[in-house]
Assembly symmetry: C2
Homo-oligomer: 340 residues x 2
DNA sequence: CAGCTTATAGCAAACGTTTGCCAAAAACCG
DNA sequence: CGGTTTTTGGCAAACGTTTGCTATAAGCTG
């Protein structure tokens, strides 16, 4: 910067202002300074600036470590959409993994308390906390996404899991289905609770008992989507009185489940109707094409970023703590009325 | 830090050394300092440290912007594996997108020249360069992954695309196939060149002419994997003399292609054999299960990180500039001998 | 215990910016 | 043209670390 100042024949402070604080310096000197900077190939040092102003321009996204985002269909899309929105706001995206070990917790806390990041978007239900330091009172703006953590006081961007599942279940009931097979993700997980809750609500509304749904899975996380479906197919084969409709909590498990039970001679939707959650593109090309509840991940990502930047800029977050973006059912051939 | 020093009854410099430079300070005072730090909930400021030592602990991964990594099957896995390796080395991963516009190029250059990042892993064939600043001579250690950029002097970690495709083509020829359908990704792209080259090599080795392969696609990038397959199926339907074997350059396009031509009454592998590239898990659950060439993305990610950290630590990179990690063919039911 | 070596602690100067405050220059006004 | 306001530029002090150098304390040796 000193070099630029010398070349342009001005003081260092003027250069700083010309580059960062437009308006504060004469248009003419500013042009001169820009020219000098370009000529010297000068780029301001981000860390020096960050140190001085006490702010970083990095946002971290905290991903649950167990969630293998190569396999899960939604995480990559979330990353993409968040990153895109952040860049437009002049921020950069850093990835942080929150595993079950203390190491990763400490790592994230160091990032937060060490001034490295300016805000966080969290996709995990656990807030890192160790040795008295806790993400919650790091002073860092945080917004939760996918999971509702408004109880913990976090702005949360979620979809209407419960309602969407309730509606699709109701639709299946309307078609005549009475026996259901529910394919669970990690048990007790927010999504599992909400989605299963949606099933139960629909049953109750139709005057059906809770016994009309058989629960399978629940002891693996979404990382093992395909495995869950495979195991569930075995589970399904054991049942004497077969359910006629399957509700899966992710596309992956639906796909492997369908593949396996077709192999046992069952046809879809002839013998069994199937619907799943996520809305991944591949569903369209399965045989039969799978009905799926499409999560609006792009919109959710955008919304999360908007909320976060608002919080950073201290704009009053008059908005609700919980932002819901509705899922939409994509109806395909995997659903039909039961045989008789 | 001053507070910690005061509480521990030592000088600031001693605190610094105790925290960063172990060994240089007495074990006893160090314990005292650690205790004080914990009690005060002190975390060293990363930017101040970075400024002082002139180094950041952030690595950026440069992704081609057009590549929609929610859709492409391999990018998420790459991210996962790279991040995991980096964390073990004490580094953080930042995502940077390289689009076709100058904005994103400038953005990346600012990151590189502004001291924000310590090294880069690049998955794009274009090195940002604008206004005389160029990533190539930023002094930043860079390694290329997936694409061979050893010509540009970059350490490159790739798989043996050409060889793998050549081998599988040869195998198809051995089974009796003589007419091929090649499903291209972005034309001129490194992967396209290599993989198509592999096909041609196998044909030549078997004494078959280049006319025995029909090329389809090539005008969309991998982002539109499914679309490519759909269009290719239309293309396929036009052909009077149908090929008996299809070689697709990504799983996505294979999946949509298969779905569509099955709909026209063709059976796989009865009428057409199909093999694709990537090795995504979903292939196992297609009907029929798809043969695919599995890219060793995890190993490639690890290797790329190893090379990068070596370069950062100035360890002599006596190793070859080009690191090849072999793909492996996963043979499933989508391949058989042609009908007659 | 004096004289030496070695381990440990402290001082203060960087690192490259931004910014509050003041001075100088320019513009405006009567 | 003198006086007043506004614009623009410069000085120097931060921001929170690390680290070369020096001073002190501790440990050893004869």
């Amino acid at each position: 910067m000193a070099d630029v100042a010398r070349l342009a024949g001005v003081a260092i402070s003027t250069v700083s202002r010309a580059l960062a604080n437009p308006g504060r310096v004469n248009e003419k000197t500013r042009a001169k300074i820009n020219a000098a900077a370009r000529q010297l190939g000068y780029t301001p040092n981000a860390m020096a600036r960050g140190l001085r102003v006490g702010k970083s321009n990095i946002i971290m996204i905290i991903l649950p470590g167990s969630l293998y985002y190569g396999a899960s269909q939604v995480i990559p899309q979330v990353l993409q959409s968040i990153n895109k929105s952040l860049i437009q706001g002049g921020y950069n995206l850093m990835i942080a993994n929150l595993d079950r070990d203390e190491i990763s917790e400490r790592h994230i806390l160091d990032l937060a308390f060490g001034g490295s990041v300016r805000g966080a978007i969290i996709l995990s239900s656990k807030l890192p906390e160790v040795d008295g330091r806790s993400l919650a009172n790091s002073g860092l703006p945080i917004v939760s996404m996918l999971l509702d953590m408004s109880d913990a006081g976090l702005q949360s961007v979620v979809t209407n899991d419960r309602e969407a599942v309730r509606d699709v279940t109701a639709e299946l009931i309307r078609l005549g289905h009475r026996r259901f097979f529910y394919l669970a993700g990690p048990e007790g997980n927010y999504h599992d609770v909400e989605r299963y809750g949606g099933v139960l609500e629909a049953l109750e509304a139709a005057g059906l008992s809770e016994d009309s749904v058989h629960r399978s899975g629940g002891h693996l996380d979404y990382q093992h989507g395909f495995d869950i479906g495979v195991q569930a197919a075995d589970d399904f084969a054991e049942l004497t009185e077969k359910p006629t409709a399957v509700i899966a909590t992710s596309d992956d498990m639906a796909i492997s489940f369908v593949s396996r039970i077709q192999r046992t001679g069952l046809s879809i939707p002839g013998d069994v109707s199937v619907v799943s959650f996520d809305g991944s593109p591949v569903c369209e090309f399965c045989s039969p094409p799978l009905s799926t509840i499409k999560q609006p991940v792009e919109e959710m990502g955008r919304a999360a970023v908007d909320l976060l930047l608002d919080a950073i800029d201290q704009r009053q977050n008059t908005a609700a703590v919980r932002t819901v973006i509705r899922s939409s059912l994509i109806l395909r051939e995997s659903i039909a009325a039961p045989k008789n």
